[in-house]
């Protein structure tokens, strides 16, 4: 047992992060599976009901069970953040790999594109993309995904620049491995530790960006809801039932706290 205590003392973030994240995922999972209410079912009698046995977290302005909605919203937010980070990582790797490995004119031009996109404040870019495609869960994912590509590309590129001159890459080239194999079989696995921690940070930024977008009215559209959407809706009833806003805010904060601690912990012993 004290071997575990020693390990925790060595890397507290990892364990705290893992616990918080596990708890939050459990809460969302339970909400999705075992709560008897349909997240969209309205019930006039339960408007702004206080937390009770029937409704663990009370109800919102339409009398919908808050716990069911938080679980549904949580699932959507996690889905959006995951999908966004996936797009960002996949395209980031492709762009980063080629610019980092080959360099030359291609690198210059793509890097300039990167700077241009990074010069755009992220929410602004999402705003423009949404106005083009209209809002909705998948549009949010695509617009945020695009916004995340440059930051991942930059990270992957610097890793490729670091690795491409190491001896094991030269010996691979000497053996006759062609460039693609070298890039994606040899070099890429070495970027995973750095990629992992920036993915976690990316995940958090995606959740926060989605919340800001919902606040500006361009995020996920009702009746489907995300935590960001719920928080910006809850704001209108801050004085009447502060529970709605506070519970949603705390849920978002704990999810992000859990993931960022997890990220730090992973970085520490990577």
């Amino acid at each position: 047992m004290d071997k575990l205590v020693f390990k925790i003392k060595k890397n507290p973030e990892l364990y705290a992060g893992a616990v918080i994240t596990a708890v939050m995922l459990l809460v969302i999972l339970l909400g999705r599976l075992f709560v008897p209410y349909d997240p969209d079912a309205m019930n006039a009698a339960d408007k702004f009901a206080r937390p009770s046995l029937a409704h663990l977290m009370g109800c919102d302005n339409f009398g919908r069970d808050l716990y069911a909605r938080l679980a549904a919203g949580g699932a959507t937010t996690l889905f959006i953040a995951l999908a966004t980070v996936l797009i960002g990582v996949v395209f980031g790797i492709i762009v980063g790999a080629f610019t980092g490995y080959y360099g030359g004119a291609l690198d210059e031009i793509l890097m300039r594109f990167n700077d241009a996109v990074l010069a755009f404040p992220s929410i602004l870019l999402a705003l423009v993309v949404i106005s083009i495609m209209g809002s909705g869960t998948f549009k949010v994912i695509i617009s945020l995904g695009i916004v995340f590509i440059p930051s991942f590309a930059r990270i992957v590129r610097s890793e490729f620049l670091r690795c491409k001159n190491l001896d094991y890459v030269r010996s691979a080239r000497l053996m006759g491995a062609h460039d693609l194999r070298i890039m994606f079989v040899h070099i890429l696995p070495n970027t995973f530790p750095v990629l992992l921690s920036s993915t976690v940070i990316g995940f958090n930024n995606a959740v926060l960006a989605e919340a800001s977008m919902s606040f500006l009215g361009i995020g996920v559209q009702p009746p489907s809801s995300s935590l960001g959407r719920m928080l910006s809706d809850a704001q209108a009833f801050l004085f009447m039932s502060p529970g709605y806003a506070i519970l949603t805010g705390v849920t978002i904060a704990l999810i992000i706290l859990g993931f960022s601690l997890l990220g730090d912990g992973l970085k520490k012993n990577a």
Binding site: L216, Q235, A245, I252
Partner: protein, 313 residues
Amino acid sequence: MKTVLKKSITFIFTVLLVTFFVFIAFELIPGDAATARLGTNATPEALAKLREELGLTRPFFVRYFSWLASFFFGDMGTSYSYGVSVRSMLAQKLPITLTLTLMSFILTVAVSIPIGLLTSKYEDRAVSTVLDVTGQLTMSVPPFFLGILVTYIFGMILHMFTPGGFVSYNVNFVRFIGYLVFPAISIALPKAAMSTKLLKTSILSERNLDYVRSAYSRGNSTMDVLYKHVLKNAIIPVITFLGMTLADIVAGSLVIEQVFSIPGYGRLLISSIANRDYPVVQAIIAIIAMIVIIINLLVDILYRVLDPRLRDM
């Protein structure tokens, strides 16, 4: 000197790229300024006439280059919806946002450097773990929710400021700055937490390097080593981070201006996009992109000043 030349070429190229992005974006967005102006009374002939009047019917490239040329000489055209020169509108709006951004930036630096030093010095004491956890918490809350909490606590309960009581700088400068304090706090808090953490980790990692051991071997105290040797090395990554966060602070002010009803660039930009008011949107985005890139340029130069190894690159 040559690197500065190279940097400025990339600067111009990037700004061009950004404005081109915006122009294409506007080609794709459904509806245009004419439909916005005429609203429910739009009839086909009226729309055609107004579009002609606003010059929307000219081919895409002609419009882009004529806008670019005029923009270059400072004439940003007139706003479709307000009929006022874009420059005069921005001259009113941008100072507000720039002051807010500047105050948030100063607050971030003023908070993060002392606390970063503090937590790295007394690393294992309770106070630094408490500061770390609060730092993590402020980073995990969506910015607008933080803004609401700040308004609710400081505005409604402690009455330290009247929510919505924005006063423009030409009316009363002190009250203008006074009001901007709380929005600046809401933007600066998460950024300060991030840069504090970065500074702390950077100091701790620099501490294990060889030159620190040789500094100790010459009889330096822990404080001397921290201030004379480690800080100057540790501050370098923080400077780049602070440079990069400026772009986020500008974006952050877009959201916080809504919460604190501050008539900065944010509100104008959103309504102009809704009204398809090209000249205003174009001007705002180009200016913001320029500001952000200039900041990156400055950070890059500061980087070279601080780190002699890069000087000859």
